[in-house]
């Protein structure tokens, strides 16, 4: 196994008295797709947000390509906001509600960070954005606003926006929740294609079918703890814990 692109070491997060994450350890290798599954409120989204330092973890450290992100290497002190902002785009985040910027065209959504953060000349940034949206079959619709795109098209633009910053890892929060069921396999193909380029991915999902189709490895969370983890196919076929077994039974009721 190659060195992990993103790791967490005993990551903890608390909201008041509520323990959202409790000593989470995680390693995602280059080109690996890890699915986070578990019931609502189990900490899937919080884990993603803590990995991207959009939420400040209370304990533990996050490592991005082996280097500490968010805190110093011993986890005692916070990095400066400037340092965190500089590292953060190495982790692409695709939000559940996508959060595309409605006042810009799809192409500008993709090019914006290149211009504002990377300080790339606008022409070069737009060219790079254009080639990205072309790869995702969106060349014809690049000039449209997000409101004029379908759900699947918006998601591809959101992925392009994250990819523009050449991330080492991509985090997806419920990527299939807003999609037409017919498009779900398309998302899997996109993720597979991205994995081929060496990007490590973490996907929070409650869609077991999608996790099964798309991920290499599975982490089952409950109440902020890792209950079970393993290769997706084998774990789903023969879960070790009773809890995962009952979870699988309760969601695959068809």
């Amino acid at each position: 196994m190659t060195d992990p692109v993103i790791s967490a070491r005993s990551l903890g997060k608390r909201f008041g008295a509520f323990m959202a994450l409790d000593a989470i350890d995680l390693d995602v290798a280059s080109g690996e797709i890890v699915a986070l599954i578990g019931p609502s409120g189990c900490g899937k989204s919080t884990l993603l947000r803590c990995l991207a330092q959009l939420e400040v973890p209370d304990l533990g450290i996050v490592l991005l390509e082996g280097k500490p992100f968010g805190t110093t290497a011993d986890g005692t002190r916070r990095q400066s906001p400037r340092t965190i902002d500089a590292i953060r785009p190495r982790i692409g985040f695709v939000f559940q509600s996508l959060n595309l910027w409605p006042h810009m065209s799809a192409l500008d959504n993709v090019a914006k960070a290149l211009i504002s953060v990377r300080r790339m000349p606008a022409a070069a940034a737009l060219q790079r954005a254009q080639s990205l949206v072309e790869q995702f079959g969106m060349a014809q619709k690049a000039s449209r606003r997000p409101a004029d795109l379908s759900g699947g098209e918006r998601q591809r633009i959101a992925i392009c926006r994250a990819l523009a910053m050449e991330p080492a890892a991509l985090l997806f929060d419920e990527p299939t929740s807003a999609l037409d069921p017919e498009l779900v396999l398309g998302v899997r193909d996109v993720l597979r294609q991205l994995a081929g380029t060496g990007i490590g991915m973490v996907i929070a999902t409650h869609d077991l079918g999608f996790a099964k189709a798309a991920s290499d490895r599975l982490i089952f969370l409950e109440k902020g703890r890792v209950v079970e983890t393993g290769a997706t196919q084998t774990t789903l076929a023969a879960p070790n814990t009773e809890r995962l077994q009952s979870f699988i039974q309760s969601v695959t009721h068809i």
Partner: protein, 239 residues
């Protein structure tokens, strides 16, 4: 009851002067108030309690007393502090401070109206907090700012009439001058009222145009779907 038009036509230079002064005061107080209101609004949104408290104190101080009283207090306090300024300057300044308290709340509301995820998406691609607000949130606030700011502008134009009481030569004051010379209050105040109405109407119209443009800028050309015109509850009440 006769209406002597000559009262108005004979004294038109004074009315024009009044309108110009009124517009001048508003044209200074509104933009300046807006500039001051931006930091006040963000102080009120701050995570630091002390900044929130200072902003809230300022806002409530000016918002919860009648403008005339605020004006009198400041106007009569300044000389005791050995500060002597022309009434026009004091009046414009107080109007500006008064407008700031409302505008700060208007700006805060517009900020809160932009979904939180918008800023988060900006942070996710590497923008700083400030950069995200400036480049992603602020442009989306414009549409939320125009209608209440127009209200504020109209209120300010009308509120300048209070400055007549500290002898600022705006429209109401000029009306009082003409009235004192002609003893024709009816004609004079019909003219004064008509001029206020005219000025405010022009502003409303300009703002409505600006609002349409900004909505256009955010949503692109609005295409109404066929379903929209049938399904919406209020469809028959709209154009």
């Amino acid at each position: 009851m006769g209406f002597d038009v000559s009262i108005i036509t004979d004294n038109w230079p004074l009315f024009v002067q009044g309108v110009v002064t009124t517009l001048l005061i508003t044209a200074i107080a509104l933009p300046l108030g807006f500039l001051i209101a931006i930091p006040v609004a963000f102080m009120k949104l701050s995570r630091f309690a002390i900044l929130r408290a200072v902003a809230a104190f300022y806002i409530e101080l000016f918002r919860n007393a009648p403008f005339l009283i605020v004006l009198y207090v400041i106007f009569y306090a300044l000389p005791t502090l050995q500060v002597r300024l022309p009434p026009l300057v004091v009046g414009t300044g107080v109007l500006c401070l008064y407008a700031t308290s409302y505008l700060a709340e208007i700006i805060r509301g517009a900020y809160l109206a932009v979904p939180r995820g918008q800023l988060e998406a900006a942070r996710a691609v590497g923008m700083s907090h400030f950069q995200g607000i400036r480049e992603i949130v602020a442009p989306q606030m414009v549409g939320f700012l125009i209608p209440p700011s127009t209200n504020m502008g109209i209120i300010l134009i009308k509120e300048t009439s209070v400055l007549a009481l500290i002898s600022v030569g705006e429209l109401t004051y000029q009306g009082m001058v003409v009235q004192a010379a002609t003893f024709a209050p009816f004609e004079v105040f019909v003219a004064v009222g008509g001029l206020y109405w005219l000025v405010c109407s022009v502003l409303s119209f300009a703002a409505a145009t600006a609002e349409r443009r900004s909505a256009h800028a955010i949503d692109g050309p609005r295409r109404q779907s066929v379903a929209d015109s049938f399904l919406s509850l209020d469809a028959r009440w709209r154009k």
